[in-house]
Symmetry: C2
């Protein structure tokens, strides 16, 4: 399958109807996942405010995980060693466990389970991994999904200008720097990882207003300032817009911003995902690099398995 | 005061004996702070595992904050608008509130309070802001503090080699890329912000093993790969050491690592803080840039206040 079709599939992914039904009363949520599988948890954690959400991306899970914890293990392959390690611990601590995967070793673990299609790469399956979290906590309905589809379509409609931005990055051999904003600051991190995996370039992400307390001081004096390409991953509004305008004045840099496509939380999130995916895809195309190829990551996993 | 003396003061800061006594039973901890004031919360969150710790660095605090929340507002100046906004909300939601500041408007807010010395810049006061959190949850005792002092002294003893690394960064106009590790992955972020504020250069941080799932794919093909200087902010052990070795092989890059100074959590944390502070300081010196100067940040705050 062409990688472009993987990106395109996001419009169908939001209709994926997996949903857990956690019964009882819980105090906290822990979502364990790595890389592309972690990002669904990060985005969910940005917008769900009913109880503390911690995304763990390491072998160990927090000591407080226990009977009062809803523990989600998200692993696209079902074989991620950090996630399996976390799930082992969560089961031992009697957390209420939920598994999202396309198969793999994790299928042998006890827990409520949603099986997602394994057709696409993990990073292209963000809709499959995010929707069950949103549905479980009743954060989407038909009207939201309809708005989201429209937002996704409109974003694909901007592909020409997106390809032009990508071409500028490649010609200038630039490093993208992306700042996140409400409702989901983690989307800047999503963009960063897509530049890493699809375009094979380094990228940096942070968030507004946090960057106003540190990076702002660096940008005016940075080495090779013209080698950075600055973005925000969403629509700045109110005080965030003030901060962005002043930041642009002080740093003498202008920040690309995706046009405002929707003001709904979920449509805005998916529009930003598509926008970032498309830039990273077009950077890969302009470089003549295969956006699918992540052989370095596979090679590390194989080396680790041999130890 | 010379900025170097601010860095030097960390050895005394760990003896700061502010401590809160939260009585009762709580379900979660929220620490609200920005920039240098946030990092104490992040480091604490890395190592305290008794209940969920969320560090918020934005105007809004999570909806779940309430009577079961221990809410720490950390603002060195006491005037940080995001933190004051968060504290307002926490008070309205009847959270148990604690304030760490050197004075400022936050002094007029109700809550238990620890006043820290205001002699140093916020980023140089990390000991004053971190110790009350560690003491409140009984995470240090005299023997730990003694080990920590030894670790700090030993780290200052490595200043010649640190200055040499800094000189390499300046000569090559390089961008530091720092990866965090247990026990406190957030220290990589601390290093990044110190490069931003002290050296006035952009820097990027992420964590191991998370970077093995995305950035690893980028490094071999990155634009201007030789313009990045790679670090880990702590001592890699066990599986982390395996991952680092394989990462070095695959990327063809070698990673600076601070020598192992101590295996105790708190001594290791402070050793890493000093190591990162010193590199960033020596980069500023080698560039002929004042490490104290953060006029861009001040200027933004003034512009915001005028709106």
């Amino acid at each position: 399958m062409r990688f472009y079709d993987e990106i395109r599939s996001i419009g169908q992914q939001i209709r994926f109807d997996g949903k857990f039904v956690p019964e009882g009363k819980y105090e906290n949520i822990v979502i364990c996942g790595m890389g592309g599988s972690a990002i669904a948890g990060m985005v969910f954690g940005d917008i769900y405010k009913g109880m503390p959400v911690t995304v763990t991306n390491d072998y160990r899970i927090p000591d407080y995980v226990g009977e009062n914890t809803l523990f989600f293990a998200v692993s696209h392959s079902g074989n991620t060693e950090e996630t399996l390690s976390g799930l082992d611990q969560a089961i031992a601590k009697k957390a209420k466990t939920f598994i999202i995967s396309s198969g793999g070793k994790i299928s042998r673990y006890p827990g409520n389970r949603i099986t997602i299609p394994g057709d696409f790469q993990p990073r292209s399956s963000i809709g499959f991994m995010l929707m069950p979290l949103l549905r479980t906590f009743n954060m989407v309905d038909d009207s939201v999904l309809h708005e989201t589809e429209i937002a996704i379509d409109r974003t694909f409609g901007m592909e020409d200008e997106i390809a032009e931005i990508a071409s500028g990055i490649v010609k200038g051999k630039k490093m993208p720097v992306i700042y996140g904003l409400p409702p989901s600051p983690s989307l800047a991190y999503r963009w960063k990882t897509q530049f890493n995996e699809n375009s094979k370039i380094l990228a940096h992400s942070s968030v507004l207003p946090e960057m106003n307390h540190n990076e702002l001081a660096a940008i005016p004096h940075a080495f090779q300032k013209d080698r950075f390409e600055f973005f925000v991953s969403g629509t700045p509004r109110g005080r965030y817009l003030d901060r962005l305008r002043i930041t642009e004045e002080i740093t003498g840099c202008s920040y690309h911003r995706p046009p405002e496509i929707s003001s709904g939380t979920v449509p805005e999130i998916f529009s930003s995902i598509v926008y970032g995916d498309l830039i990273s895809y077009h950077v890969a195309e302009a470089r003549g690099i295969d956006p699918r190829d992540v052989s370095a990551i596979t090679s590390l996993k194989e080396s680790l398995a041999r130890l």
